[in-house]
Symmetry: C2
Subunit: 921 residues, 2 copies
């Protein structure tokens, strides 16, 4: 096996070799002569490649050149030095710019000024961004003043240049103990000196003489801090700026960013040197940023903003509030018309929504950058679908254009925007179930059920939740916990049920006894309103109005017809394309007819995991369940199980009806029995009275069933090895339900799944029971039933004996939740105390409970697939962990060649999209 790091090393060596060759071209021009194009982003960076491309298609781009990413690699491989040929190539580049602009670098009449910008393959915040106005010094500033006939403009450019250059190239930055950025401090002092009556005057009101004085003071500051004079020679300035860009590739923020997004440091950055154009020469000039379509809604409108008489960084800085781009139409109709044309050209050429920067200098438009624009989920869908309609892209491309993770944004309930404005944020937790929820605070599940039964909206607020809270969670609009991460019980169940959830809002202190919670200096009592936004993690005081998403209104609530919802139509079209492209099927994890109905509406092709134990918590069933657990003989246990049988049968009837012949993988009882018993004194006494046993009997059984590590305890098939009568009841319920539904001419397709198998014989014993009970029911009811029997693969042992298991199992379903816990030796519920730090230190790339740990868990899955197929070539393979709704995990499952993934109903569309993308990529 070759490790990844070895592979990386080889690439590095090759790059170095190239770097030392004399023939190498390190500088790529754009302008009248253009060397690069959009496909060269690895070499030229995203910005450089697109500047070249825009030049090629005739857009007005100020000329310049790009220093390649290979120079960056060379730089770090050679102790921060450059290839010797670089200087002459840069000189040629500057000469080309001089020729095209009619200006000269350092010239005292018509000086060429340049902008220096970094540009990696993907834009990367954290790196040095831009230095403008490079080439200015005490001499060239005079030429610029004279030539522009605008002294204030020239000196403003000069002081901006010194400030930017001083900061990012010369490192004149805030020192420990200082409150302000040093250049800003100098400005403040200058204002006090020059305008003692009005020391808070705006920068733009400082006159030319003031700016001259400011330049002098800035140069003093630089001298004082660096011990050197500010560089005068434009070439020195340029060398400094290029070195600073390459140097910033390895600064802390850039490293952190790359780690977060998995960008290899070997990629390196390019440097772009471009002739300056000025949006700040007067009222006929401006700078702006625009999108070819609305990135929030996807609407095909020209969307953006600009500032008159400003340089590019002013628009982004947020000091002045820019105007919407439509306003430009009135102010500069000619330039606007040109911009509109550019917008159309860009989309036609790049075939995606573009985010671009422009400058208008004295009425003339220049393009400074373009790239694919970031967008919301809603916008992504609309843009993709409409671009297909416009024949800009194919439906396959459209599918790949929508980030799968963003899809559930369009399904989540939303806060009424107007309502939010008047509401106080009182805490922030982890966004664990997207959407908006508002309701009365209930601090326990019973209370929540009770209040909700009265028709009140409820927010279940707990320190943390447990399976006992399930009913309350079902009843609540949303769930808020003070402890636990995005993979805590609360979050898991919330995602499963599509509930809004904010978890780990640690500022909130909960006192169950006083039925109160304290946060932000306020006290809230049970019954008070709170609102939570599961997309942002914000917690609001009071009630905030919400609405269901349109897609839910169409598919689930049916309160909206498809025809009335263009956003639903776009969604439906996209999903349709997905299914045509996918190799993987998408099933759902659902435990009740309702959930199954929803999942089928969302396009699920069956149930991948029906957790039968969830059915035991409802209504009176829990009493029979508890009676069964407390039984002191097999006979008593069987009697209690007999009471449960009709409930389970009824559930399965409902589920089979909703499925209309789609397959249903039904897992037999999995959790340890103590999860079904009450643990607190009062509840124990209540139960004792109800079922007529002594409280001590219950307490004793609770103690007896206590486990140190329940996750690794008496659960899964280990339960029915010891109590086969439990499995028998469940299997009988399944088959009796199947017979009932079949008699109504509805097909049924049950797949019975044995959990937690590690030893082939464990499975064999269970499979024997399934076949026996199936035969019994078949005989009793005189009806044949088709079914499969298979197993979860969720402990590492099962993966290494998968060949033996596959001799018995007709299907495998990877239980990646537990497989991750066991493979990593890491409890999902307890990992909150160290996992965040693990991500920060890059010990793990992603939360392994959110995305499959491909290197570890994934390899065991590969082994299981290989061995499983070796003894049963047509074995059905799926995955039913929470990972089934995670796009990168779906891609991994596609690569493994599984038949299906299964996820919670509300994640089904996400998984369908991810499956299609995996097939297309």
């Amino acid at each position: 096996m070759t490790s990844k790091s070895t592979a990386k090393k080889t690439t590095k060596r090759k790059a170095v070799k190239k770097g030392s060759s004399k023939a190498t071209k390190y500088v790529y021009l754009f302008g009248k002569k253009t060397d690069g194009n959009a496909k060269m982003r690895n070499l030229l960076g995203g910005k450089g490649a697109n500047l070249a491309e825009m030049t090629r298609i005739g857009l007005p781009v100020p000329p310049g050149f790009t220093i390649t990413t290979e120079v960056c690699t060379y730089f770090y491989d050679h102790k921060r030095t450059y290839p010797t040929v670089l200087q002459s190539q840069m000189e040629a580049g500057i000469r080309a710019m001089e020729k095209e602009t009619g200006r000269k670098f350092g010239d005292l009449k018509k000086p060429l000024l340049v902008a220096v910008r970094s540009g990696a393959r993907d834009s990367m915040p954290g790196m040095m961004d831009t230095i403008l106005n490079l080439g200015l010094n005490d001499d060239t500033v005079l030429a610029l003043a004279k030539q522009s006939n605008n002294e204030r403009f020239a000196w403003d450019c000069y002081r901006r240049f010194i400030q930017m250059y001083g900061d990012v190239v010369l490192g004149v930055q805030t020192l420990p103990g200082e409150d302000h950025e040093p250049f800003e401090t100098v400005i403040e002092e200058l204002k006090k000196d020059l305008y003692p009556k009005n020391p808070h005057i705006e920068d733009s009101k400082i006159d030319a003489d003031g700016l001259k004085e400011l330049v002098a003071r800035f140069k003093n500051l630089v001298k004082k801090r660096t011990g050197k004079d500010f560089p005068v020679s434009p070439w020195d300035q340029l060398h400094g700026a290029v070195g600073a860009v390459f140097g910033s590739w390895m600064n802390d923020r850039a490293i952190v960013y790359r780690q977060k997004y998995g960008i290899p440091s070997e990629w390196g950055t390019a440097v772009n040197v471009q002739a300056m154009v000025f949006g700040n020469t007067g009222t006929n000039s401006s700078s702006g940023v625009a999108f070819t379509r609305d990135p929030a809604t996807g609407e095909k409108v020209f969307y953006g903003e600009f500032l008159i008489n400003a340089q590019g960084e002013d628009v982004v800085a947020g000091v002045r509030t820019p105007d919407p781009v439509a306003k430009l139409k009135k102010i500069m109709p000619k330039a606007y018309a040109e911009l509109e044309k550019v917008r159309r050209t860009l989309e036609k050429h790049f075939k995606d929504m573009q985010d671009f920067e422009f400058t208008i200098e004295d009425g003339k438009l220049y393009m400074l950058q373009t790239r694919n624009g970031k967008r919301t989920g809603m916008a992504a869908i609309r843009i993709a679908v409409e671009m297909v309609k416009e024949r800009l892209i194919s439906s396959a491309t459209a599918v790949q254009r929508v980030p799968a993770d963003q899809l559930d944004q369009v399904l989540a309930p939303i806060f009424d925007r107007a309502a939010l404005k008047n509401t106080a944020v009182i805490a922030k937790g982890l966004p664990a179930g997207p959407g908006a929820a508002t309701g009365r605070i209930c601090l326990n599940a019973d209370r929540a059920t009770e209040i909700a039964a009265k028709g009140e909206r409820v927010l279940l607020v707990r320190i943390e939740t447990s399976p006992e809270d399930l009913r309350g969670m079902i009843a609540a609009e949303g769930i808020l916990t003070a402890r636990g991460g995005v993979s805590s019980h609360a979050a898991l169940v919330a995602r499963q049920m599509g509930k809004v959830c904010v978890c780990g809002a640690s500022e909130i202190q909960i006192d169950y006894n006083k039925k109160s919670l304290y946060v932000d200096g306020k006290t809230f009592r049970e019954g008070d309103f709170l609102s939570i936004d599961g997309t942002s993690g914000l917690v609001y005081a009071g009630e905030v109005k919400t609405a269901a998403s349109e897609i839910i209104q169409v598919l689930i609530e049916k309160s909206l017809t498809p025809a009335k919802s263009p956003s639903y139509q776009n969604f439906a079209k996209l999903m349709n394309w997905c299914d045509k492209a996918s190799k993987l099927q998408v099933r759902t994890n659902a435990d009740s007819p309702d959930q199954v109905g929803n999942a089928v509406a969302f396009g699920a092709s069956g149930i991948g995991l029906c957790r039968t134990e969830h059915m035991f918590f409802e209504g009176d069933r829990i009493d029979a369940m508890r009676e069964m657990i407390l039984a002191d003989s097999t006979e008593a246990r069987k009697a209690a199980l007999k009471k449960l049988l009709p409930y389970q049968r009824k559930d399965f009837v409902g589920i089979f009806k909703e499925l209309k012949g789609l397959p249903a993988t039904i897992r037999l009882l999995d959790p340890p029995l103590h999860e079904f018993l009450p643990h607190e004194g009062s509840m124990i006494r209540e139960l004792a009275e109800k079922i007529g046993v002594k409280p001590e009997t219950i307490s004793h059984r609770v103690t007896e069933l206590h486990e140190f590590n329940p996750m690794l305890g008496h659960r899964g098939c280990r339960l029915s090895i010891i109590y086969p009568e439990i499995a028998e009841m469940q299997i009988r319920a399944i088959f009796e339900a199947a017979v009932l539904v079949q008699k109504k001419k509805i097909k049924v397709n049950p797949e019975i799944m044995i959990p937690l198998v590690g030893f082939p014989k464990e499975l064999q014993i269970q499979v024997d029971i399934v076949h026996r009970v199936a035969a019994e029911v078949s005989k009793e009811k005189k009806t044949k039933i088709k079914y499969l029997v298979g197993t979860m693969i969720e402990v590492p042992r099962a993966t290494v004996v998968a060949d033996e298991i596959a001799e018995i199992a007709e299907f495998f379903s990877f239980g990646t939740n537990d497989l991750t816990q066991t493979t990593l030796g890491m409890s999902r519920d307890d990992s909150g105390s160290f996992l965040p730090q693990y991500k920060e230190l890059e010990i793990v790339k992603d939360n392994p409970f959110a995305s499959i740990d491909e290197t570890g868990v994934g390899r065991l899955m590969e082994t299981a697939v290989k061995l499983g197929r070796s003894s049963r070539s047509d074995i059905k393979l799926g995955i039913c962990g929470e990972h089934g709704g995670d796009p990168s995990s779906v891609a991994f499952c596609h690569k493994l060649g599984l038949s299906y993934v299964s996820c919670s109903p509300f994640r089904v569309p996400v998984a369908r999209l991810a499956a299609a993308q995996a097939a297309l990529s």
Copy 2:
């Protein structure tokens, strides 16, 4: 990868195929023509193979034949039917016996009677053992009477036959509610009817007419219970007996026994059919059991016992207490001389101590069985060492002769001599299993199991034991019987299991109904304490203090010189041979200088696992530890750690001194922090006062640290990722101690081990700290320190990324405890509720926490070894789980090619022996 079961199946299929082939030989003769030999035990069973072998070497064996184990396999693969050719082969076998004995099966003049005996590869209590006198019916009994001229003898044989056959073949056994065995009840009634004045007359005093009546009543009983007449035809009788032997292979007791000793059910048993010889024809006849050396002590003396005028089962049954074999010299000098000759021949030929059965019929000696004798650990060592001295075997064979598991018997405590002086001897029996045992009296096996499960020491006291008592015997500290000799069931099983045993203590009267025993004028009730010395046979009233074994006295206590202990000398010689043979080194798991000293005395070649956390529980340290855990800042934590540093350093100094340069693998802090905090109110308050914080602060931290699955929680290296200062302190303590010891000219060899690594980067971060601190200490103390850094492999993920881990780790140590828990998804502490059942159902072969699960955990270990070596060819590999002291796991580690195993100090000799055996096998 081919799975074991596939392999098994293939074997099975082959057997079946063979079974259906006409050419297959299913019956092997012994006698004038002998088909088998000693090497054919897999096919003929141990008994059959050795009968053939004894015949071959000229010993007097009654003729017969063996039905092979393949027939048993066929029997279970074909719904309990036989290969068709079997009958004709059996007929040929009977014909050969008829020819040789001059008798005929079912003949009315000289009837051939046969014994039918089971015979698996290894002798297996629990299976049907023997049916004697088969071939008798109302006609042949007359012939036997006439021919032997002894009517009483003939009818006694007949009634015995009906009783044995009725019981084991026809299933006429004690029914629920009955107090006595039904045949015994019939005898009691007969005595009352025939001898109303003396109803307690001995069976041997019933005259021929009485026996005729008894036969009639027995036949009635059979008819009543089975609804059928007792079979008359000898062939029907023979078929029934053969079927019963094969059937008994799958009875409960046999299954339990196989589980305990890991015998696969596929092996099957053979059946031996042999011409009867009679030890009960009169006073010139006898039956006996003997050993070529003393199986309790190993002394080279003729050891055994016999009964005049008895059949073999009388000796074993314990109804009459037999005489020592030496007495035979006086009674039958000729037969005794022949026996002595046989004893020498057997040892010379089989080159091992033999346990054999003989019968003397009218002064003529017959051999009925020989096998390698079971022996105590003490005897095993002495016999092995002395046989080398006698040039019977090589030292390599000697090493293989001592079952590694029995070795710790010689390390087991013996009674304290001083304590014994003040304790009353209340009875004396036969010393049948050496050692000292003390415990509460339990008069039945179930009760013993129950009381032992509560953690009480138990002494199982029975009139005599039977295979049904097996589980109780396993649970008990020792076994005491009132009846039966050194070859009784109790003695046999005790020797096999290394249990302390005194048998045939005939002064003791046991009343099962009153749950009491009477001896020496005293009454003891169930639950009272008794003590037994299995080396002297003495029984003591009450609890008696124990003292260390001789070997411990020599090696650890040094209260005895080697010269004064021949048993130590034998032990030392054996260990010396072991070390010459071994490839694996044996290290120890030890956490204190004391333990290390002991382990080195036992021959440990270093520490394989020093659990540093154990050091934190002693004395004041726990307070500093708790202070550290409660610290609310890194500074406060460091301050508390500073207090711990001197303690840890001192411990390491002590350990390094004891090791004198042997390597010490030191594991950094592993358990979750909450293990160090008190959890109960009063203890929390006490601690709060002691360290001056609020009790709430402690309770809050306890709650905060609570984990659902601590085994998978915040522990191992995860602790020092979050709190690197803990690791720093520990590493500093190690290196500072190393420097101190080195300065005293004692070599040190620390190997620092990082626990619970799953991700390569986890390890890298820790290794960086080790190197940094090592450099710091080196610089401060101006001393160089040699050390290694490595990791535990204890989560499955580590095994699949072992190549990446080995790039960083200089050694791997398999933490097989945790690796088993995670691979199987099974908590050791919680598995008690299902694991016993798993063994019974043969889901697992052995307790995976006792013996490495080779198929599951073992495969992951193989992967780790392969990958680890692929990136570091000379990586040091060891194992430090509890499995390191388990012989079969040691053998597996040898096969994997590890460098060492590590186990608790007292298991070091066992592991050294197991390692040598693995290398030699």
